[in-house]
Amino acid sequence: MESLWPQIERLLPLVSKPARYIGGEQGAVYPEHGPGRVAWLLLYPDTYEIGLPNQGLQILYEILNERPDAVAERAYAPWVDMEAAMREAGVPLFSVEQHLPASVFDVLAFNLSAELVYTNVVNLIDLAGLPLHAADRAGADALVVAGGHCAFNPEPLADFVDAFVLGDGEEVVGEMNQVLVAWLGAAPPEERDRGALRRALARVEGVYVPALYEPVFEGGRLVATRPVGPGVPAVVTKRTVADLADWPHPVRPLVPLTEVVHDRLNVEVFRGCTRGCRFCQAGMITRPVRERPAEQVRAMVRRGLEWSGHDEVTLTSLSSADFSGIEDTVRDIVEDPAHGGQVSVSLPSLRVDAFTVGTAAEIQKVRRTGLTFAPEGGTWRMRTVINKLITEEDLYGAVDAAFSQGWRRVKLYFLIGLPTERDEDVSGIAELGARCVEIGRHHHPSVTVVASVGGFVPKAHTPFQWFGQDTVAELERKVSLLREEARRTRGLTVRWHDPAASVAEGLASRGDRRMGAVIERVWRAGGTFQEWFERFDLGLWLDALGAEGLSVEEICHRERGADEALPWDHISAGLHRDFLWGDWQDALARVSVEDCRWTPCYDCGACTGFGLEHVVASPVPPAGGSQGTGQDLTVGGRVPVRLVGRAS
């Protein structure tokens, strides 16, 4: 098998950040390809520095390479300068380990973590030299598969992808590999029957083969998605790994040679979240909560630090402060003599309360410039709608603790364009930020509060999947309103995401199969790396939409009815549609739900459907405020005079 390195090497002096393309990471493996071994090319459709730390990809990389009947290498999207150089020199997409052309791989497997990368997926399929459309691929062509959170509405990419994988990949990847071993071994390449492969894959639980489903449209609107042919399940349900303790991966995390995002050790402490934030797709589709045993966490941290030489570890999950016994776990890590007292622990998505900040201060040896909290909504009213039950008391207590512990900067994440949002909810963000500045000034004369504001994009399999997303004009109006309000407070800075990007994300998030042609047009017009601010162009999307006779109003801004067919009705994350609709109605009525880890079951479907339970070590909620559970919600909006210093 011929390495492309000599050709690639000639291009690297001409491009930016050439270390993106050399591989050589600690932990990389150089497997021997051969008959009887399915060759997987694991792809992250963004740049190397964004894609390398992705834990899902690293886990599958190890699991596949541990199998005697599989080999796996990795590839990332070449930046535009490298892509141009590759196309000019006739160099196809290549793996970073052995610099082998994509054409020697049996499977191209994409990680889909964000919708705006869809045009990159198409571009990489093209750079690999494959026919763009799944329907045009022959027996000898590689199979294109995709998994990750975005696979829960697979329809926009259905034209390009042979099979989608739903949910946790640890087990299903092996089952797919077995199907492929049999299929590849059954006939020489040109005689392989792709139809037989599709049918065999569709029999694997959690695998969705779009060619076996037909969307039905009436009057320009989707009315149903039907299975085609016998033995094809009407609904494909996600896979769920019951016990994370069975999967202590990555065992040897990749340590890159060049700078990447999250350049530290990452150890996943649990999967799933039951806080029930209604805007959060990740929280909904990854239920139930499955904690890793604390002892295994400690072992993975110790081994990972010794292996990598990192001096920082992040305990990852959707809400790491909720891990049972988090305080003990982090203290054990920090005080472990094996690490020489030089290790710092960071917890992403800090829970918003003073208690958590105290813990953070204790364990975070390296003080970052600031602490980040995510109240998401500017008023208590708004937060009860989205079920992010952070009381004013908890938020100001957390901010007070942060400033008193020596931090000078606090960053707050908010969403705008949420259901039932009124202008006072938007200006409430500025008011809340101003109070935080005021609290900070009690501790230090110059403090900064940054309010980072994103436009809300409704996602599939959430209670807000029926909601009509705000238009660009409306989001821009709200951003202006907020900036105007925030201008009065020195020390308060407002940052916002491009409202236009939320529209493109909305198209890719809730579009049906007709979006495929739109994505292809955007790609043909040069629209790659749309998740990069400097590359994003809403005009490309609107032109493509117009050319396909589709409208942004229909896909993004229109509220759906209870009985309307949704493009992902044949895909199940385990959540009952009744539960989601009921939760949507509750949101509109400002009825909150508590965290079901510690309260009676709402029967959302995530546990019962799989015969699972939440795997939680502690029977009681974490101490020190818990965003809803056991709180008196009637006083959640009360502003604590004690902290703010004056009644307001």
Partner: protein
């Protein structure tokens, strides 16, 4: 406050010696003052190569690789005091991304009693397996704290350059013209701005070493370094850059010239310097040969 080639600020102590600065700009004390007798920190100098695929990593990337490798080595690193403690490591001249080297250096501060268990001579063989393929530690020695920093002391360095697409005879003529020119103006980018610099004073020597387009150059490092790309621009070659390898760095003192750490024989700390070939490929799991692993054509350590 001036700026090191890697862009980090370098401040100067009252005695004129540069002092390392932490990323946050605060000076880092490496001086032994105030420490009880016999507890002075050790200053360990390491020499290493950078060859093959890894040449496409940056100077900062190499610094990060070293920090991780040193932590894994369990050497008792000295840390800076303060809010953000970090290991006291200082690097020499930055190597431009894409260039190879047979002579790169760093100084590491160790707590005393550091080398009680690890003989100095074994350090290269101990450290090399902790570093990626293409980086090999070739010498180690303790250096006196009174000596200046690498950045300050190194006065010139030697390069072997590949100049593709220029026939040997023509290359020789161009080199002759270059050396005869009183002024060599090269347009280059510094801090995002285009500037015109005369690099002629910095070109100390240049000669063609083989008829297939290889040359050797010695360039001064002060007041401002000259990169291989500058030399090629001055030679009037605009094609794809060939391989470039820094073969030596030189310190001049009292009319003598020596390397910060010699592979054999001369220079400070030479007695302890140890040249160790790397025995076991680490980092990589497979036995994959590195197709980019051979040094640039015609370059051999002398």
């Amino acid at each position: 406050m001036s700026t090191a080639p890697d862009g980090r600020p370098v401040s100067t102590a009252p005695d004129g010696r540069p002092v390392s600065t932490a990323p946050d700009g605060r000076p880092v004390s490496t001086a032994p003052e105030g420490r009880p007798e016999g507890t002075e920190r050790l200053r360990l100098r390491l020499r290493f190569t950078k060859q093959g695929k890894i040449r496409f990593t940056s100077h900062r990337d190499v610094a990060r690789m070293w920090e991780r490798a040193l932590r894994r080595s369990r050497l008792p690193l000295a840390y800076s005091q303060g809010f953000v403690p970090h290991p006291l490591v200082s690097f020499g001249l930055a190597l431009p991304t894409g260039c190879e080297s047979l002579g790169e250096y760093l100084d590491v501060r160790l707590e005393p009693a550091a080398l009680g268990e690890t003989p100095l001579a074994e350090l290269p063989a101990t450290l090399s397996p902790l570093l990626p393929e293409g980086i090999e530690v070739t010498a180690a020695a303790l250096v006196d704290e009174a000596e200046g920093s690498l950045q300050q002391e190194v006065a010139s360095c030697d390069w072997e350059l590949e100049v593709p697409g220029v026939p040997g005879e023509e290359l020789a003529e161009r080199v002759e013209r270059l050396l005869a020119a009183p002024v060599l103006t090269v347009r280059r980018e510094r801090k995002g701005r285009q500037t015109d610099d005369d690099i002629r004073p910095a070109v100390l020597a240049m000669s063609v070493t083989s008829p297939d387009g290889h040359l050797r150059a010695e360039v001064a490092t002060h007041p401002r370094g000259v990169r291989p790309a500058d030399l090629l621009a001055a030679l009037g070659t605009v094609s794809v850059p060939g391989r470039a390898c820094r073969t030596h760095q030189w310190i001049e003192r009292d009319g003598a010239r020596f390397e910060p750490l010699a592979l054999s024989g001369h220079g400070p700390g030479a007695g302890a310097a140890q040249h160790a070939r790397r025995a076991i490929p680490h980092v990589r799991d497979g036995d994959q040969p590195d197709p980019g692993g051979s040094p640039a054509g015609g370059v051999t350590p002398r």
